[in-house]
């Protein structure tokens, strides 16, 4: 109900400006400010959300998770810090959920020291409440952070144990069940790096994906996404770019798995105000051009 009212108010407002534009009336910039304020504030209050269709580059990641046979091993690398978290934590959470739902086994690690804290968020928000039956060490394991950036990757591409003799809790490598058949990155079925800084996805592609011939998918902050498109689809099987990429994934995941209809979708939530604000801006661009063209035609007639 509230949603309809807000969208209605915004729509009628825009329509009114549109009609004004047809008469050649310029818009006071304070009117634009009010529209932006409403567009951003209202969805935050009443939770306006949109349905997202996944773009092929996002769909590719989803499909990879689907096509892997149950019991495949996926590595998640948390390569980000709290500053990047608003954009990429939603990706980490939904991808973890998807992997566990499909019955994949997950190895969590991070190239950022702060990544361990970010994994705890996923643990708290996804693994513990939704998959309490999954056993640490059997179905998933967190091997944590090791300093050394690409040096770490250089080692684990051939040997996990050397770099990670224990997991974060000090459990020795040999007694972690997941590692029974995983000796190096080459034994993995998929690697997912989530982040946007350095070290990050570029290092994964360069030091593990290419030499080890392991499929890699990624979720990154919006600003770095354009630099990564050239890697797709050869070196990256897919990419989630920014909040929008995360929202597309969440949206699609909910559609395919209806039992998660009530799951938290922070990216979709964030995209509510973003989408309305973008639409408002585009509407204003259209109105501006309308005024311009009508004005010019008038000038032409008068001349």
């Amino acid at each position: 109900m509230a949603v309809a009212i807000i969208l209605g108010v915004l729509g009628i407002g825009l329509l009114w400006l549109f009609i004004g534009a047809l008469k050649g009336r310029e818009v006071d910039r304070r009117v634009i400010f009010v529209f932006i304020l409403v567009a951003v504030a209202a969805p935050l209050l009443v939770n306006i959300t949109f349905k997202f269709e996944p773009t092929p580059i996002v769909q590719a990641v989803f499909d990879e998770f689907e096509s892997l046979p149950e019991g495949s091993t996926v590595l998640f690398s948390y390569d980000f810090d709290p500053a990047m978290a608003p954009e990429v934590q939603p990706m980490a959470n939904v991808l973890t959920r998807h992997a566990l739902e499909r019955g994949h086994k997950i190895i969590f690690m991070c190239l950022f020291a702060t990544g361990e804290g970010q994994f705890n968020v996923t643990d708290r928000e996804v693994i513990q409440p939704e998959f309490p039956d999954r056993v640490n060490g059997v179905d998933w394991v967190n091997i944590g952070y090791k300093a050394g950036n690409e040096g770490v990757l250089n080692v684990i591409v051939t040997d996990f144990k050397k770099m990670f003799p224990t997991d974060v809790n000090g459990v020795p490598y040999d007694s972690i069940k997941i590692f029974d058949k995983i000796k190096s990155c080459k034994d993995l079925d998929l690697i997912v790096s989530i982040g946007g800084g350095r070290p990050g996805i570029k290092e994964w592609v360069l030091f593990v994906g290419d030499p080890g011939n392991v499929p890699i998918a990624t979720g990154v902050a919006a600003v770095v996404a354009p630099q990564l498109y050239p890697y797709y689809p050869k070196q990256l099987i897919g990419l989630l770019g920014g909040v929008k990429g995360a929202a597309e994934y969440e949206s699609h995941f909910k559609k395919v798995y209806p039992k998660y209809a009530d799951m938290a979708t922070p990216a979709i939530f964030m995209m509510g105000p973003q989408t309305i604000a973008h639409i408002v801006i585009m509407a204003f661009i259209v109105i501006g051009n309308l005024i311009f063209f009508l004005g010019r035609r008038k000038e032409g007639e008068e001349a």
């Binding site: 580059i57 996404a225 354009p226 498109y229 973008h278 639409i279 661009i285 051009n289």
Partner: protein, 224 residues
């Protein structure tokens, strides 16, 4: 002499730093300069800070318009200075950073400086909107190109982009808005960026040489 000495200093220091790149024994001169610069900047602050105090005292004395706000500015300035230089509320010793929790300086920073900065920054959301309303009009060919590129990227950032072009056949998938947006960002955008960046490089080289050779001498005035 008032012109020659500064000129000689510029020429000497400029060439020295250019050449230092090629000679390992002096290759750290650039770092030395940055250090000296930082120290000069501290001294210069006596002039800047002094100017700030002078302007506002003058406003006060002459009861110019808005003189009350000068009291606020001066008060804030002095408050921050005292809190920071004396390290009021310092939980540690003199080596403790002023940005340590518990210090008055830090708490003012957190509850006044940070929200004010973030709010000013966030004004951009409004101005981005008003600027695109006014500027993105198809006045001529250049403006039209600008408008179209911006519009495609804006569309691509929302679910609208995918919806608008989802009817397209597979063979034309590159022209679907989300893909088009990606293409623009990774090719056309990159081409323009590179041209601009190379141009800037040449501009800087030329500017530097003009300064060092004394062809540009803003603060020395005209020759003769």
């Amino acid at each position: 002499m008032r012109r020659e000495i500064p000129l000689a200093i510029t020429v000497f220091v400029g060439f020295l730093l250019i050449i230092s790149v090629f000679f390992p024994p002096v290759e750290t001169l650039g770092e030395d300069f940055s250090l000296s610069f930082d120290i000069i900047a501290v001294f210069a602050f006596f002039l800047g800070g002094g100017n700030l105090i002078r302007i506002h005292l003058k406003k006060l004395a002459r009861r110019e318009t808005d003189w009350m706000f000068s009291i606020v500015t001066l008060g804030g300035f002095i408050l921050m200075l005292t809190a920071g230089l004396l390290k009021i509320g310092n939980p540690g010793d003199i080596a403790t950073s002023v940005n340590t929790e518990g210090m008055l300086f830090e708490s003012i920073y957190r509850s006044v400086f940070v929200p004010l900065g973030a709010t000013m920054y966030a004004l951009l959301a409004f101005f981005v909107a008003s600027a695109s309303y006014r500027a993105f009009r198809a006045k001529n060919r250049e403006a039209t190109i600008l408008l179209v590129a911006a519009f495609i990227i804006l569309m691509g950032s929302t679910p609208l982009g995918a919806m608008a072009t989802s009817w397209m056949p597979e063979s034309l998938s590159i022209f679907e808005i989300p893909n088009l947006a990606v293409w623009i960002m990774s090719y056309a955008n990159l081409a323009g960026q590179r041209a601009i960046i190379i141009g800037i490089g040449l501009g800087v080289v030329s500017m530097s040489l003009r300064l060092i050779l004394g062809v540009e001498r803003s603060y020395l005035g005209k020759e003769g």
